[in-house]
Subunit: 329 residues, 2 copies
């Protein structure tokens, strides 16, 4: 590459901040080589996920949480596939204003999450940019041959389930921007934490292999993401607004009028899993919830009929989400 003037600095930067993150994975070659290798276990496919995150952070977010969010968003995608994350590649375009203190915190955030989620940095690149911070992470995981969960496969009669609580990404972003004045300090902090460091659900995703007919993670907003399942599976999906689980801060925000219920169901950035599973699997799903200690809540069902998502009020009247009663995709 022609980026010669930065070259020495780049090598030192990698050696200092990133090579320590590659320890323990022989395929990473100490980040000293141009490529890495991974030996998949017998009977497993390799799955990959990539995201570019140039414009998805607030400029003053703490560097350790920026790193963790970039990684976790990718781990969440792998979790939704039923894959066990193994490793990741990081490429970073760093604005010239970024200093060693920032990088130290950034690398510390990654180190913490590597331990927690059992992944190792195996490669990538860094460069300087006159533009904004741009991070790109490719996470690599393993999933049993042919068993990867996808958005296709939801069948009429299936239940719709979600992990954890919905709407905290949107709530947290508002809190972080300071536009939620009605909330208590404790609730505001909890909401901000969810926005800064979402909680991927790898143990649930892995457990759903062989149980769920379709699965994804909630990144665009629950209603839009269920729309992806509806479209790809060619089914209708109905959910009951009151059954969608909310966190205590989200309930408080709705109660004090700081946020509409609909904003929580369409806001995105939740990184919870939403999935369709046959009714016959209810006992298995509940047992998975106990084993993983992750709340799993049934919020609706899959039906025949025109592809789309309907959100129902008590009494089963359709609530107007988007245009005309329900949202088409």
């Amino acid at each position: 590459m022609s980026g010669k003037p930065d070259r020495t600095g780049e090598f030192e930067l990698i050696a200092k901040f990133f090579a320590p993150l590659a320890k323990g994975e022989p395929g990473a070659l100490g980040l000293k080589d141009d490529a890495a290798y991974l030996k998949p276990r017998a009977g497993h496919d390799i799955t990959t996920d990539a995201v570019i995150a140039g414009v998805h952070f607030l400029a003053d977010d703490p560097p350790d949480t920026i790193a963790q969010k970039a990684l976790r968003v990718n781990l969440s995608d792998l979790a939704a596939k039923g894959a066990k994350a193994r490793a990741y590649l990081l490429t970073a375009a760093l604005p010239t204003a970024i200093d060693d203190e920032w990088l130290q915190s950034f690398a510390a955030g990654l180190k913490q999450d590597q331990k927690r989620f059992g992944v190792t940095l195996i490669g990538g690149d860094t460069t300087k940019t006159p533009g904004p911070l741009t991070l790109n992470i490719v996470a690599i995981g393993e999933v049993p041959y042919g068993k990867m969960l996808t958005r296709a496969g939801a069948k009429p009669g299936d239940d719709i389930w979600v992990t954890g609580t919905i709407g905290d990404g949107a709530l947290g972003l508002k809190a972080r921007r300071g536009t939620l004045p009605g909330l208590s300090d404790a609730h505001r902090k909890a909401a901000e934490r969810r926005y800064l460091t979402p909680e991927p659900r790898p143990t649930v995703g892995k457990g759903l292999v062989g149980i769920a007919n379709a699965c994804l993670d909630v990144s665009d907003g629950l209603v839009a993401d269920l729309g992806h399942i509806a479209k790809t599976s060619n089914v209708a999906i109905r959910i009951r607004e009151r059954d969608v689980p909310l966190s205590a801060p989200a309930k408080a925000a709705v109660a004090c009028g700081a946020l509409a219920h609909a904003e929580l169901l369409t806001g995105g950035d939740d990184y919870e899993l939403a999935f369709a599973a046959p009714q016959s699997a209810r006992a298995k799903v509940q047992s998975l919830s106990r084993d993983t200690r992750v709340p799993l809540t049934r919020i609706g069902e899959v039906a025949k009929g025109p592809t789309g998502v309907t959100v129902l009020a008590p009494g089963d009247a359709a609530i107007p989400y988007g245009r005309g009663g329900y949202v088409h995709f």
Copy 2:
């Protein structure tokens, strides 16, 4: 992600320009899912390579060649590992000024190279950016278990070889910038073509598995890259300047004084392979050259002694490259 305002446009953009590039690879899931999978063949490791290329293009380079260069730089890294490229992920941060015509050309360039190099787009992401165009490609390849070529492993007595010709990357960049007035139009065009669309050497790389002791691709400049091998293998490397193969445009540029010989050997961006192989493998290397129709030239040898690279003039006097006789790393 919170990039909501661009979301619809992004889906359409992917469907229009990039989904066609994913055809034929079932693991890509039509680019409609959050992740992809690959089934490695029995007895093979998966190798990955990533590069960020935000500042490595001239703003007016043709979009099809920008795409091809970004892809080929990664294919070159895999070639240097002895890996057969299988697929790639593309993440692009697109400045708002980029229009459909630009994207059409960009995707056409990728399509052409996919066919030529036998790879398929299997995932990634696009977003808009207020900064410069940023491309990130992760190429994924297969290499027989434990056989990946690395920078380590060069042994005293080994020959040093290179593919093709050296220095055309530096020459082409100068030509493209218009700072090579002495060159004929034909030579200038040939040099520019080499800068815009370097030629990866996958067939040679694959053939070197089991033959070469160390290998890499020339991206930082021949002398610096041989320095990487010297350092990682803990050996000394000597090359003869006159034996380094030059293209006709490069010879003409040196002859007319437009460029020093040393600039060609240190310029980078060549994406030729440089490798160390035992003397006993000379016949095999020559037969590989015939089979692949890629010129392979012996330019020096590996020796014991202090780690570093020495460039020799006729009569074996050391030519001062960098500081003091030879370059340390």
